[in-house]
């Protein structure tokens, strides 16, 4: 009996022993790269629910039953590791950062992080490394060429110049519209206004877009939400998409410091070719007071000047940034201070910016987290006047004959040496017609998250964006444009306050075994108050006293404006077995800028994603391990600018003591409706070859209806612009992204990423009674016209006359009159009002190709961007070959002169009504006054006057980094030192003759595309940089 009991007891103990004999495993988890401890890593006993989390020093403790137990270590942004326990009791693990997994979590609306795989629409994320790698002072420029479907154009190479960003095409016909997306920083929308001096279409100075104020070193990542589906939760301000910027925040652990510095040399690369053959004068006769270069050939031994070399010099950009972050489990903090100093390639062209940021978060209790951030930005700049037209630094420089020394421009008494009454010296002009800008901006936000229950969270955030932008614009009376008014000065203060309040209630529930549901309801309030106060005047009293107090004719104007938006929204997300995802949202907005009966509008969206590889159980396949198809439909609305409705009168400047009143020339429809953009998109997301190749293909159709457009109307109506809901535009967009890890070894990696997009816009309808909308209607030989069936950005002009009779053997041949080419079918008396389609301002397709190669401590990356198609109009070109109205034949295209030529083509030996064509045999003299300056032979023809196709292949960025090996730093306070050399825009191949075709004469944020040639061209830069972590 006793023996049996003992045996049973023993047996029992033996069998129970494993259960009781739990071994405690301890260890530490670190980052394999930085060797930092990793807190928050989850350590799971495989097959069970047993989990431990590493402490702030990376240590963990977990009980395991046997030596065969397997522990799984996983953490966001790192590759998971599975380790069999064996007979170890201490297990130290180092986890590798997984670059591809960084894209697994994407920040979407309101700072909510979602798993990329659950999204039914296309999103692209750019990591901080790529943002600072190119050393661009304007963070937007660093995104160029990296994001499919997104067109980023720098408006100019001048310091502080603004950048245009258009996502998935132009969806507004309004020439004043801002087709820019909504910018959101840490969940709060901020202003990206450019406040172009002179209004959109004014363009004398390339002002900065406000999103460029953000310090690139403060950015953790940027998510681009491209279509309405992505941005619907932000409401009507995001109808062009949204750029979600997440800034760096503190991490708990040891306090770390970072210092980065870089210095660059910037130069103008590509220039228009100029002739260096002919002296000043006209018609072959030398005339020293005629600036035109139509004199006799330059004799040997005469000094000849390259006017571009004389005008441009080397600019510099010097950036410094210092940041620190740290914290404990309860509180974290981050701070940074950055400084940028830049001198441009033209005289009197500078920019500096100081950024100070501090942020922190506090875990006040288990349920309540509070965080906040404050940023102060101060920037100052000065830039000379560029001008759309003949008064600007570049347009003056392009017209001086090669024998004139423009660097010698001052008389001893300080006045300008004037060779001609029609030109100012560009270097003198840069110092005497300019704008100084000084900006102070404060961004602040405060938010709290409260866990009401374990499945219900409430969060609230309030943010403020406040800036004051002071501008001082001067045109001296000694310049040609200032003389007529005896000088003018404007001092303007633009004030802006935007307050956003977001309240969200989020819940997460499991429904049944397989379905997970998340819902969010929220309310958003936005109030925007802007003011523009300016004092301007003309008529200098004392010639050199540059102050607004020195004018005898003043006007002071004050224009305040208010815009308030209230929104409520709901978002419901279901996922079935993490394989099938469905997302439904609805939002209703009320805007103060629309008439009362149209002020409220509702828009929904629905999106779906299906990870078919889960269903097919392919996740461990070596070929196709991840495949998702997705589709979405969404609608977003858009309101109007304030005060557009109806018609107003304004007072005029007082004259002889009396102030008159006159009607404004813009009138707004009384029943203005909100604009709507509807988007449908389909996409496929594939992970191939163990996720070494990630492919993303997306097709979207976006239709914008009821756009609010100030259409230009005939002046004979008494108005110049009529603001109505006009028309329907449809954009078809293809986007492709391929991301390959070509080589992935420990010491040698090569990642290559290609993105490509194709955009086609089409005008589907215009409102009744409206047949076309024309931009720049006053220049018949070049304009953009929007009409039904055409595309936004269609150019019309006057091409050379060609034989149009298809049955003729000479079909397509140039028509010559008196031996010379003919323009716009002038030979048959076509009215000058008629014009022909030339091309479209938007490219056929574009994209970028980036390669990052890392070998041990060296890293080389290079980015090519390419673009096919897209006609631009070089405003300045005619100035370089004409001979009237300020034009001067300085361009290389006028080198052929004083010769007899026989043009290829046919002449009409019959009548205008029944032409009879015969090959041309007439020899005619060509020169400036006989050919290049003749409007109907050459000067106004679209083949010569500035239209060109601007396709390009560009080496956007090359970067070489060297990271000092860690072992060398062991005895120093530094944890990492990196040295880098970067080149931006080093090489471009394009058929475009002129400056770099990437430019926007009308400034960032204007809706007028395709005009180039007047601004400082994009520069070629080489940066040297050092980065220290300690």
């Amino acid at each position: 009996m006793k023996k049996d009991l003992l045996a049973i007891l023993l047996l029992w103990v033996i069998t129970a022993l494993p259960a009781l004999a739990q071994t405690a495993i301890t260890g530490k988890v670190i980052d394999s790269d930085t060797k930092d401890a990793l807190p928050g890593v989850s350590v799971v006993l495989k097959g069970t629910n047993t989990v431990a989390i590493t402490d702030f020093d990376g240590t963990f403790r977990i009980a395991v039953p046997s030596a065969e137990s397997v522990l799984i270590f996983s953490f966001i942004g790192y590759s998971s590791e599975e380790i069999e326990v064996g007979n170890k009791t201490i297990i130290d693990v180092s986890l590798d950062q997984s670059v591809s997994d960084l894209n697994e979590f994407v920040v979407t609306a309101f700072g909510i992080e979602q798993e990329r795989k659950s999204l039914g629409y296309a999103v692209q994320v750019i990591d901080k490394k790529l943002i600072t790698e190119t050393n661009q002072p304007n963070a937007l420029n660093a995104l160029r060429g990296r994001i499919a479907g997104v067109n980023i154009t720098s408006s100019s190479g001048a310091p502080g110049a603004g950048t245009n960003i258009v996502i998935r095409g132009v969806n507004s016909l309004n020439p004043n519209a801002d087709n820019q997306p909504l910018f959101v920083v840490d969940g709060i929308p901020i202003s990206n206004e450019t406040n172009i001096s002179g209004g959109r279409g004014g363009s004398n100075f390339t002002n900065t877009n406000r999103a460029a104020d953000i310090n690139p070193d403060d950015i953790e990542s940027i998510s681009i939400l491209k279509g309405p589906a992505a941005s619907v939760l932000y409401g009507l301000r995001a109808s062009n998409g949204a750029v979600i910027i997440t800034t760096k925040s503190g991490k708990s652990g040891k306090t770390t410091f970072n210092y980065r510095t870089s210095y660059s040399f910037d130069e103008v690369g590509k220039r228009p070719p100029m002739q260096q053959r002919y002296l000043r004068g006209f018609n072959g006769l030398y005339n020293p007071s005629d600036y035109r270069a139509d004199g006799p050939p330059i004799p040997e031994g005469t000094p000849v000047y390259d006017q571009w070399d004389e005008t441009f010099n080397t600019g510099n950009t010097f950036q410094n940034n210092f940041s620190f972050s740290g914290g404990s489990e309860k509180a974290t903090f981050y701070g940074s201070i950055g400084r940028l100093d830049q001198t441009g390639v033209l005289p009197n062209s500078e920019f500096d910016r100081t950024n100070i940021k501090i942020s922190g978060s506090l875990k006040a209790s288990d349920k309540l987290t509070i965080d906040g951030a404050a940023t102060y930005i101060n920037s100052n700049g000065v830039n000379p006047r560029m001008g759309v037209g003949t008064a600007g630094v570049i347009s003056y420089a392009s017209r001086y004959a090669p024998d004139v020394n423009i660097s010698d421009f001052m008389n001893p008494d300080g006045s300008q040496i004037r060779y001609s009454n029609l030109l100012d010296n560009p270097l003198y002009f840069a110092e005497n017609a300019f704008q100084e800008e000084s900006l102070n901006r404060f961004l602040g936000n405060l938010g709290a998250t409260y866990l009401i229950t374990d499945w219900l969270t409430a969060s609230y955030r309030v943010g403020i964006d406040q800036y004051s932008d002071k501008r001082f614009t001067l045109t001296s009376p000694t310049t040609l444009i200032g003389a007529g008014s005896n000088g003018s000065i404007t001092e303007q203060v633009i004030g802006y306050q935007e307050i956003n309040s977001n309240f969200l209630l989020t819940g997460n529930r499991k429904i049944g075994d397989h379905i997970n549901a998340t819902f969010t309801v929220g309310n958003q309030l936005t109030t925007i108050n802007a003011q523009s106060l300016s004092a301007s005047g003309t008529n200098f009293v004392i010639p050199d006293f540059w102050s607004v107090n020195n004018l005898s004719q003043y006007s002071a104007r004050s224009f305040p404006s208010t815009r308030n938006i209230i929104g409520v929204f709901a978002d419901v997300k279901f996922d079935y077995k993490q394989t099938l995802f469905l997302n439904v949202t609805g939002r209703n907005d009320w805007s103060s800028t629309l008439p009362k009966e149209n002020r409220s509008f509702f828009y929904p969206s629905v999106s779906m994603a299906y990870i078919f590889t889960e269903t097919l159980n392919l996740s461990s396949s070596k070929i196709l391990s991840f495949g998702k198809i997705r589709g979405s439909f969404a609608e977003v609305g858009k309101d109007a600018a304030p005060y557009l409705i109806g018609n107003y009168y304004s007072t005029l400047v007082p004259f002889r003591g009396i102030v008159g009143v006159a009607r404004n020339t813009t009138i707004g429809a009384e029943n203005l409706r909100p604009e709507r953009t509807r988007g449908v998109e389909f996409g496929v997301d594939l992970g191939l070859f163990s996720n070494r190749l990630r492919l993303d293909v997306n097709y979207a159709v976006q239709t914008s209806i009821d756009q609010i457009v100030p259409i230009p109307v005939s002046r004979a109506t008494g108005f110049t612009n009529f603001v109505i809901n006009a028309g329907e535009i449809r954009n078809n967009i293809w986007e492709l992204t391929a991301d390959m890890d070509i080589i992935k070894k420990k010491d040698f990696t090569w990642n290559s990423m290609l993105n490509w997009s194709r955009l086609r816009g089409r005008v589907i309808s215009l409102p009744e009674g409206l047949e076309q909308i024309v931009f720049q209607p006053e220049t018949p030989w070049v304009k953009q016209r929007v009409q039904v069936g055409g595309r936004p950005g269609d150019w019309y002009g006057w091409p050379l006359s060609k034989v149009e009779d298809q049955s003729s053997p000479f079909f397509g041949d140039p028509v010559l009159v008196n031996g010379y080419p003919d323009v716009n079918n002038n030979w048959r008396g076509v009215p000058l009002a008629e014009d022909s389609f030339i091309g479209n301002a938007f490219p056929d397709w574009e994209g970028g190709w980036n390669n990052a190669i890392r070998y041990k401590s060296l890293e080389l990356s290079f980015l090519f961007t390419f673009r096919k198609g897209g006609y631009v109009f070089d405003i300045n070109r005619r100035l370089r070959y004409g001979q009237a109205g300020g034009e001067a034949p300085t361009g290389a295209e006028t080198e052929l002169r004083n010769k007899l030529v026989v043009f290829d083509g046919v002449v009409n030996t019959g009548t205008t009504e029944s032409p009879v064509w015969a090959p041309n045999e007439q020899a005619v003299p060509i020169g400036v006054s006989t050919l290049y300056g003749q409007s109907f032979r050459y000067r106004l023809a679209s083949d010569f006057n500035g239209f060109q196709e601007a396709s390009w292949l560009r080496l956007q960025n090359v970067s070489l980094n060297y990271t000092v090996p860690a072992r060398l730093l062991a005895k120093t306070p530094f944890t990492q030192i990196t040295a880098s050399v970067t080149g931006n825009n080093l090489w471009v191949s394009t058929p475009f003759i002129g400056f770099d075709p990437e430019q926007s004469a009308f400034g960032a944020g204007s809706n007028v595309f395709g005009y180039v040639g007047t601004n400082v061209p994009a520069t070629r830069s080489i940066f040297f940089g050092l980065n220290f972590n300690f």
Partner: protein, 474 residues
């Protein structure tokens, strides 16, 4: 839990509804004036300034057509749509003037409406003489007519202009309004509310109109002469806008200031005034007043069709010291001097002595206005080329002196086209040395305004600017 949620939702909804209206009803611009705050008194000064802009705008580049100035491509007859006239006319002048007329008639302030009608008719007469067909009956209808069709020149001259001018004359003679604030035309830069002067101006305008229409109906010459007698009695009553030092005369801003010299007086004008061609041996004392020369012994103008800078020996310019381009110069619109020449031309066939007197009055008044001394004036007048006696007076004498007197006014271009640039009337008048119109005709009209083809679909077809306008067709 459910209770809490529904409570929160209810509160949220209420908060939203209440704050809605106060937050959202903020769309009235506080910095601009709404239509009900506007009155004819404060529209009037704007309308007068705009009319001056229209008149200046017509001549700013257009004065190259009558060859007063030259030096730009427009003088070679490159396409030109007179935008400097079109824009102020339709965007500023017509809306203000028509609004004064409408409001004035409503309020029975016929003094205001009469003044506005006079100015409106003057501007329209200038415009139709330059463009031919112009929008009028369909113009200024705002959004209810986005594509205003043009009225033909014939309709303008035969129907609308006479109606407007006669209505102006009628209104200016109607009883004054009863409301005290409307009895005097306030803010009147030109005549300070003096309706008699405005009436004279209306007659001066009708005289000009009748002279134009006499192309089609010679009997109107007598009417023109009669209207001149009802118009200004001296140059002091001229319809002109005087500028101030702070807002300068537009000619100063354009050419008179020290820096901008984009156009220069032509050789046609300098030859007529420096005693070398038409008046051989007789130097016009107005010459140094009109322009400044680098060499006062030899005033050399720019050859019409040449560009500024082509010929370095050209030595004349408009400067701040010249009468027309001083900063406080008046911008002349309807003058006593013009009236005298209208009368001289009108009476030449029927009443030579009266024509001769008017002709000499015109010359004297023109000289006196620009400050020629009495001595110089008498010397000039004594010359037989000027005072040839009534029996010997010819049309060419009248028109040449009118040409000189109306320097920088576009009415001269209408004169030249009435005579189709005949060298019998304008000796030595030649086409510009480069004529860019196919076929090389004289310039006859303006092109359609540059912006119109882009915004208006109801346009007349104009093959080129060499096609003769209706008024000048015989």
């Amino acid at each position: 839990m459910k209770n809490t949620i529904s409570k929160i939702t209810a509160i949220l909804t209420i908060v939203v509804m209440v704050s809605c209206d106060s937050l959202l009803d903020v769309n009235v611009d506080p910095a601009r004036i709404s239509p009900d705050q506007v009155s004819i008194q404060n529209l009037m000064p704007s309308a007068i300034r705009f009319s001056a802009s229209v008149q200046f705008g017509s001549a700013q580049f257009g004065s190259q057509y009558p060859q007063y100035l030259g030096g730009q491509a427009i003088s070679q007859y490159t396409p030109y749509g007179f935008d400097q006239l079109w824009r102020p006319l339709y965007s500023e002048a017509i809306p203000s003037l028509q609004e004064i007329i409408t409001r004035g008639e409503e309020q029975e302030a016929f003094n205001y409406s009469g003044v506005a009608k006079t100015l409106l008719a003057m501007n329209l007469l200038t415009a139709t003489a330059i463009y031919g067909d112009v929008p009028y009956t369909q113009a200024n209808q705002g959004t209810s007519n986005l594509y205003p069709c043009y009225d033909t020149m014939q309709e303008m001259y035969e129907i609308h202009l006479p109606e407007l001018i006669n209505s102006a004359i009628e209104d200016l003679q109607k009883p004054l309004p009863s409301a005290a604030s409307l009895r005097v035309v306030r803010n009147d830069y030109i005549y300070n509310g003096n309706l008699t002067s405005w009436l004279k101006a209306a007659y001066a305008l009708r005289a000009r109109y009748n002279l134009h229409m006499s192309e089609k109906n010679p009997a109107l010459k007598a009417q023109a002469s009669a209207d001149v007698d009802r118009a200004f009695g001296t140059s002091a009553e001229d319809l002109e806008l005087v500028y101030e030092v702070q807002i300068q005369n537009p000619w100063w801003g354009f050419l008179g200031n020290p820096v901008n010299k984009g156009q220069q007086p032509t050789s046609f004008l300098t030859n007529m005034m420096n005693g070398t061609v038409q008046y051989s041996g007789l130097v016009d004392p107005r010459l140094p007043i009109y322009m400044t020369s680098g060499n006062p012994q030899n005033y050399k103008g720019i050859v019409p069709g040449a560009l500024v800078g082509d010929d370095p020996t050209v030595n004349v310019n408009l400067t701040a010291n010249n009468w027309h381009s001083r900063n406080t110069a008046p911008l002349q619109m309807l003058t006593y001097v013009e009236g005298q020449f209208i009368k001289a031309e009108a009476l030449l066939e029927s009443n030579r002595p009266a024509a001769y007197d008017a002709y000499r009055n015109g010359i004297r008044a023109s000289m006196a206005k620009v400050g020629v001394t009495n001595a110089a004036m008498e010397t000039y007048m004594a010359n037989l080329k000027i005072s040839m006696g009534a029996p010997n007076l010819q049309l060419t004498d009248i028109m040449m002196q009118k040409y000189i007197a109306l320097f920088l006014q576009m009415e001269t271009w209408t004169d030249m086209r009435r005579f189709q640039y005949s060298t019998d009337i304008y000796p030595d008048l030649k086409q510009p040395i480069i004529n860019q119109i196919p076929g090389g005709p004289w310039i006859q009209r303006s092109n359609i305004a540059d912006e119109e083809p882009g915004t208006n679909t109801c346009l007349p077809e104009i093959p080129n600017q060499g096609v003769v306008l209706w008024l000048f067709q015989n």
